[in-house]
């Protein structure tokens, strides 16, 4: 059988990097072919070549046995190739219909024929089980639904080959399950899917074949039945990867942070955190689990001094720090790995060296008499770049030029190189590849073992289970249970996160650890 799409010997050179090095890849009709690799392995470059966004330096693309030339996305669309980008290509102020018709508009008397397109959208959404409202504005839709709009957008253009670039990165666990169902539905109807990801579990769960890329090259293609997570991870990273976090039992000490009846309002003035009480002890990791948008962001902002709580009390090392700004908290030993590393963690255009002293520039040895001592900054930068294995040509390149994993390492280096009493880490590994995740997890365990308290907020259940010594579950602004990770299953946690009461979940078998008040 001829593959529906074949790639032979594609190479693409960018200044300083060979992003694709003689890549071969093929896709059969009705199959889900996963493309696995770390960030920067060249997956997205390859897909952009397939979609006509980049032109390759050499190699050829063969569609249904015929050589194809891709000069722009137009050519790819004409050949029945559709792409759902990692960052959605939707216009928030347009309706679903307008977004779908854009670029392939249907006209009636010279005017846009919204009705006809809207009818076609409804038809497609029924045919493939993709529920969407064609009249809704995209800005009002949840991420999972926006993704469906993207898929329908490709189907509207008669796509037979669908490229999904990291489709699960932005989804909740429930939405991921829906997506998997949709993908099965699509392949059953003859669509072939290239599924780009760096999440091993998903690959094993849905792919028919897996091709692994590393540093621009194809490492190999395997069937999920013949492999396992450890082997895939090793192929991706190029060495053995420890997927399980190695950590000994916690040795909890005194309570470093106590939070009492904390109420925090969000941007719109609504109560996002509705009276939570908990404490974090030195030498332990308290994990906060919960579906995103249940008040975690506001809770962390209040604890780190970025948002004034409406009421309640925050004690840090015994001192009342409720209305303090970030600087006194920091000087007291608070480290913070923020949720959005590019917006709140780093000044992207600054060189790495400057980002590394962002919290301490005014203190000796960096700041002396209103002047920043560049020799001290330089020394600090070189040491941290070495110690924290930040991969960069120099400490003076703009931080924006680093990969996501290395940007996160800059933040971790800055936050953990100060004396740490309490580390608050919010989604510390979001969007990172296996190697970086492994590294950041080991750093978190390391700081815990040195006696710091750690508050870990994460939407990844695996991460919470692997690192936490206690798990607090947040639902609608409240902590609904604090449990021991050894005595709870993933399913039980999932139910708690979905709002099922803890009595219901545990049915009186007494596995709940009550908050140490």
């Amino acid at each position: 059988m001829t593959p529906v799409l074949e790639v032979r010997g594609i190479s693409k050179q960018f200044p300083g990097v060979l992003a694709n090095d003689r890549v071969d890849f093929d896709l059969n009709a009705g199959e889900i072919h996963a493309l696995l690799g770390e960030n920067g392995a060249g997956k997205t470059t390859l897909m952009n070549v397939l979609y006509g966004l980049y032109s390759p330096d050499s190699g050829e693309i063969i569609r249904k046995g015929q050589a194809a030339i891709m000069r722009s996305p137009k050519d790819a669309i004409a050949l029945g190739i559709g792409m759902v980008h990692q960052h959605f290509m939707l216009i928030p102020v347009f309706t679903v219909t307008e977004n779908i018709m854009l670029g392939s508009e249907t006209l009636k008397n010279g005017q846009l024929d919204r009705k006809a397109v809207s009818a076609r959208v409804s038809e497609l959404s029924q045919q493939y089980g993709l529920e969407i409202d064609p009249e809704a504005f995209v800005r009002d839709l949840p991420v999972g639904v926006q993704q469906r709009v993207e898929i329908v957008k490709a189907l509207y253009r008669n796509a037979e080959v669908l490229i999904l670039d990291e489709p699960t990165a932005v989804l909740t666990p429930q939405e991921v399950e829906d997506l998997i169902k949709i993908m099965r539905e699509l392949t059953a109807k003859g669509v072939s899917i290239i599924f780009i990801t760096h999440k091993l579990k998903e690959v094993l769960a849905i792919a028919d074949r897996v091709t692994v890329m590393r540093a621009g090259k194809v490492v190999g293609t395997v069937a999920p039945a013949e492999t396992d997570e450890a082997q895939l991870a090793a192929m991706m990273v190029g060495r053995e990867v420890i997927l399980e976090v190695e950590k000994g039992p916690a040795k909890p000490g005194e309570e470093v942070m106590q939070v009492r009846d904390l109420v925090v309002t969000d941007q719109r003035g609504l109560k996002a955190v509705q009276g939570v009480t908990f404490s974090v002890r030195s030498g332990e990791v308290l994990g906060v689990a919960g579906v995103q948008g249940n008040g975690q962001t506001e809770l962390v902002e209040a604890l780190t001094g970025l948002r004034q709580p409406q009421s309640g009390q925050i004690l840090f090392s015994g001192e009342d720090m409720t209305d303090k700004t970030p600087r006194p908290l920091m000087e007291n030993g608070l480290s913070h790995i923020p949720e959005d590393r590019q917006r709140h963690g780093l000044v992207m255009p600054y060189p790495i060296a400057d980002n590394l002293v962002l919290c301490t520039y005014y203190l000796p040895p960096f700041g002396v008499n209103f002047v920043i001592r560049n020799t001290a900054v330089d020394e600090n930068a070189r040491k941290l770049v070495h110690d924290f294995d930040i991969r960069t040509p120099s400490p003076y390149v703009p931080t924006s030029t680093l990969s996501g994993g290395n940007q996160q390492k800059v933040i971790v280096a800055r936050e953990l190189s100060r004396p740490v009493r309490l580390l608050i880490a919010n989604q510390p590994t979001r969007g990172l590849d296996v190697g970086s995740i492994e590294y950041i997890h080991s750093q978190i365990v390391h700081i815990r073992d040195k006696g710091a308290a750690v508050l870990l907020v994460s939407a990844e259940l695996d991460e919470i289970m692997a690192l936490s010594d206690r798990i607090a579950v947040m639902y609608r602004g409240q902590i609904v249970a604090i449990v021991d990770p050894d005595q709870v299953t993933r399913a039980q946690l999932g139910l708690l996160m979905a709002g099922v009461s803890k009595d219901e979940v545990f049915k009186g078998n007494g596995k709940v650890v009550e908050p140490a008040a």
Binding site: F88, P92, F94, G103, L107
Partner: protein, 356 residues
Amino acid sequence: MEYRRLGFIALIIIVLIGVVVLIGGGQISPAVIIVSMLATTIAVATPLTLGALCGIYCERAGVVNIGIEGMMLAAAFFGWFGAIYMNTILEMSPLPSLIVGVLIAMLTGGLLGLLHAVLSVTYKVDQIIGGTVINILAIGVSGFLNRQLFFESGSVFGGQIPHAPGVLPRLQVPFLVDIPVFGKVFEQQPIAITAIILVVVTHFVLFRTRWGLRTRAVGEHPRAADTVGINVFRMRYANVIIGGLIAGLGGAYFTLESVPSFEPLMTNGRGFIALAAMIFGNWSPFGAWAAALVFGAAQALQINLQFFRELIPPQWAFLQQSYVVGLVPYILTMLILTGIIGRTTPPAADGIAYEK
């Protein structure tokens, strides 16, 4: 456009007209004053409306244009020069000369639009700087050539200011002029009428046509447009040039429709007020037009109050100073731009150069 904003616009226009009626109503019938105010408002709002439409085409496509002022000034000069040249040197009759002048004005605006597009789309120069370049260029070129061409001995016109071919004639809008009393409002000159037609056309183009959908897409999320095969650069070029042509028409208003003469700096900040109208109108044609009418009414107040200067009661004596009334449009601009009447949202990619 939400009701609050419309209400505010209606209120200001009513207040401005009311002031003139209160002062002059004793001498002339209020109906006549209102008609005169409305007619003047529509006429003087013309360059503001056209300037705002220029801004809408540019910014809906994602290119900030603060060079509208310069585009209008340059167009006013070259349009005027063209009309005189046709009339005096080529001995064309007045009306065709004026029409050629209007076309030259539009061409001038279009060329400056092209310049702005080259700077901001191709060379990705900061768009504020690109606009400023156009403003400075227009002031320099129009001022310099005005002196060289008309006032230097040995110049084209031999050091004499030639006789201008007058201004564009008044037209009567069919049917509407027959309305008793208020019919007079619909006796306007051609550029003023065209401006209103262009408001409707622009609305239709932006929201009903393929061109408009793509233009707005390019201004909101150019990469999304690119991935569905739309040429972002071409859309931006075309819209900025269209905007320039419209600003050029706005420039023609000054020297070919309003008065038959050119003076350096005669646009006098109208291009910037047009920008304010565009923002206050939330980047929509009808909204911008309504906002332009507010500024027009403020200017009409100044014009109409001159006729009643001696009727102004002593306790309002400060209104006798024309500069006091002349300040009103500028005060309104500041008031509106502070956002106290509600905020508006620009297109998301407005002012950001697109990197492929």
